[in-house]
Amino acid sequence: MSTQTGPPRPHTVLRDELRPAWSAAVRAEWTKLRTLPSTTWLLAGTVAVTVGTTAIIAAATHTSTGPDAARQDPTKLALTGIDLGQAIIAVLAVLTVCEEYGAGMIRITLTAMPRRTVVLAAKAVNLTGLTLIAGLVAVAGCLMTGRLMLPGAGLGTADGYPLVSLAHTATLRAAAGSVLYLILIALLVLGIATAIRDTAVSVGVVLALLYLPPLLAQAVSDPLRRHLEQIAPMTAGLAVQVTTSSPAQVIAPWAGLGILAMWAAGSLTTAGVLLRIRDA
């Protein structure tokens, strides 16, 4: 039998009692995320997929500069990688909660932290932080790629397009909005995954919710198409990337991001309620 040091010293206990429980939960969840190798890979993957997609799209773009050619939106084009990068962030968000259910470890988690909504909030805080970092890097990479490659695709200053630059208010809004978009997607997915609890089903539902409404919108005509694009998380949220006015735009940039925020809030609220009322 080894010797035991006994419980923490009384003054420590007293001090801890005064600190909020949620900060310990945040640290615990942070330790969990940090000690899973997949977290690092998925964050790196998000950046790589986002910037890589933008690079491929930029390389494949050849814009004709005729007088009747439609005006392009270089900033939105540079941020196209987010379309695909969000899938990786979504997987990270799903794994944050579903892997615990898959292994049955959620019972250990809830034994250590019986306040379930605090656990969900702690996961949300960590996911927000990680997505913020990955999103900032990915968006910066996209804008840099756009600035370097788009002039070669017929979208340079010689063609009447400004270089992609954060000095433009609209570009700054699109960039910051894209990072916020990724964070809101992560939170939306976290809520869905908490409600569903199964990894495979969650990934399927989440990717379907993100990618299928735009496809459905293509298949139907107005006004259904318009309404779909206004309320679907991806099409509404990505409105924040638009920097040139276009008749195809169905919702204002910040309003679109607001719709996505409502999705995320609704999803997290539902998840919090379900987490509280269901047996673990």
Partner: protein, 309 residues
């Protein structure tokens, strides 16, 4: 009984058509090891999950340290629990598993090293938990339960998958915890594992308590002890003993099972009657016998009659 470390009272819970808990009531006092036994499906794990606030009861209440578990601020400092020992995320190391638990309770990182040494897992602590044997997972689970050096320990089937050495270690460990005033609740579906360590035994079946007593009381309740008698003339010996008021049955192996009188009395009756005998053995009922007797009607899953081809 407000001083009880664990108090379970009138728990009822239904899963669809199954009444998992049907008025479960018992308590565990500080400084004791309480065995929590019953056949598979008797409601042991459900009770423990309700105790830990994982599942919600339909009726009744379950208190730890006089409070609802969910009301404890840093619960692992008060209550250590081993549930779902096999449930680990395979790519995380054992040490990191303990580390996040320590963070959740604001325990110092040093404490992780201490409990790893305590359960003898130091050689494996930095390996992926996915590669652990069931026994190693149990040790890691016990380390997690000991992290906050709690006053109450709730261990669900800690002997599962343990090698004999590990079983001996746990038994000694649990006794030493009780000796230092901790309250320990140990569930098991095998009574034999608890013999010699449990002060109190709660036997459950079909969601309710069948017996809640000390080991001695339980054994006594199993009825009077029997005496085994070997004699060259078993029928004659049986007749003599029956005349003396004892129950005596001759077995087909030529021995006599005597009930109703002590071994001492058997010798006293047979010797004057001139009946020869080669052996008189008092047979004490084991905890296992008591358990089988108690749970005979409450077993949910019973093996079918074996048919030999």
């Amino acid at each position: 009984m407000n001083d009880a470390s664990i108090e379970v009272s009138g728990l009822r819970k239904r899963f669809g058509p199954t009444q998992a808990l049907d008025g479960m009531t018992f308590s565990v006092a500080a400084g004791t090891v309480t065995g929590f036994v019953g056949p598979n499906g008797a409601g042991k794990s459900t009770t423990i999950r309700v105790l830990l606030g994982l599942d919600y009861q339909d009726e009744g209440h379950a208190l730890v340290c006089g409070q609802r578990y969910a009301a404890l601020k840093y619960p692992l400092r008060r209550v250590g629990a081993l549930v779902e020992a096999a449930a680990l995320q395979p790519s995380r190391t054992g040490r990191n598993h303990l580390l996040w638990l320590a963070r959740s309770q604001r325990l110092p990182t040093d404490r992780v090293k201490e409990v790893i040494d305590l359960v003898g897992l130091d050689s494996a602590a930095r390996r992926r938990a996915g590669g652990y044997s069931l026994g190693m997972r149990q040790r890691l689970g016990i380390a997690a339960a000991m992290l906050g050096d709690p006053e109450v320990l709730i261990l669900d089937e800690p002997f599962n998958g343990m090698d004999p050495e590990g079983i001996i270690w746990i038994r000694g460990f649990l006794r030493s915890l009780a000796a230092r005033g901790r309250a320990v609740l140990v569930s098991s579906h095998l009574m034999g594992e608890l013999q010699g360590i449990a002060d109190q035994v709660v036997v459950v079946g079909r969601g309710r308590v069948l017996a809640d007593a000390t080991v001695d009381e339980l054994v006594a309740r199993a009825g009077s002890d029997r005496v085994l008698l070997r004699s060259p003339t078993p029928s004659e010996a049986a007749a003599v003993l029956q005349r003396a008021g004892a129950r005596a049955t001759v077995t087909d192996r030529g021995t006599v099972i005597v009930g109703g009188i002590t071994a001492q009395r058997v010798v006293e009756v047979l010797s004057p009657a001139g009946v020869a005998f080669s052996e008189v053995t008092a047979q004490r009922a084991s905890l296992e016998d008591v358990y089988l007797q108690l749970t005979g009607g409450a077993t949910q899953y019973r093996a079918g009659t074996q048919v030999q081809p």
